[in-house]
Symmetry: C2
Subunit: 123 residues, 2 copies
DNA sequence: CCTAGTGTTACATTTTACTATTACACTATA
DNA sequence: TATAGTGTAATAGTAAAATGTAACACTAGG
């Protein structure tokens, strides 16, 4: 996996697992790959994987079972809330960053529409 | 100044100066605060400021004059290009991150509109 | 010429993320 | 009960960002 060298790897792994859970690649109750396997897949160290998982455990997104593995929470509400939170965070980041560049509300929307339209042309 | 501890400080300083130039707080030809003064203002080390300025110099956004100071480029075109680049980068980041969460093009736009509408209510 | 203000650079040190390695604890199963 | 698969944790080492400090080079003005 390719990482952004401006952001801690453990943090990018955390978001990677967030995404898998939200899109259903990892369904509620599913067992995650073993930490050593994840480390190999992502070409990072076990401790780095563990640091990411540790935060997911604190947030009750996954539940560890010693000797068995890590499992996605069965609580669908938690996952729904997570998805909404992540979306809102993304929107907030865009909004604040563009406002700091003196872009107005209406411009933000129209710029986004232009951007999406341009993407479609290319594809 | 408050920094995000997930992103290098020098990088955040670079973006901070980008913003000041784009919104005109620093106009073309303006002299930036002295590096030691910037270090005090931002409560960071001179070398950290210098690292941020070094990249801005490489990008021709500012021009150093030894013994005098650092000056914003007089080339308005460079600044315009920079603004467009930053906006596009922000849009791309939002787009890709939300798509990874299985959010469709139309949903992205409507979520953004909702977000802006909600912000207005609060204010 | 001297001094204050400026950019530039170098060095040692500290901090943190990450790695490599090893060990320990628990579970399931042959 | 032995073994393989799992999570958990500790230790030591490396790399990069950031700091503290100092020195050097250039400019302007008295």
């Amino acid at each position: 996996m390719k990482f952004d060298d401006k952001i801690p790897i453990y943090y990018q792994i955390k978001n990677y697992i967030y995404r898998q859970i939200i899109v259903g690649e990892l369904a509620p109750g599913d067992k995650l790959p073993a930490v050593r396997q994840l480390a190999v897949n992502l070409t990072v160290n076990v401790n780095t994987v563990q640091r990411a998982l540790g935060e997911l455990i604190s947030e009750k997104i996954i539940e560890p079972q010693r000797g068995k593995g890590n499992f996605v929470t069965e609580d669908q509400g938690t996952i729904e809330k997570l998805k909404k939170l992540l979306i809102t965070q993304q929107l907030q980041e865009l909004y604040e960053n563009l406002h700091q560049l003196n872009v107005t509300d209406t411009e933000i929307v129209s710029y986004l529409q232009d951007y999406i339209a341009k993407r479609k042309q290319v594809q």
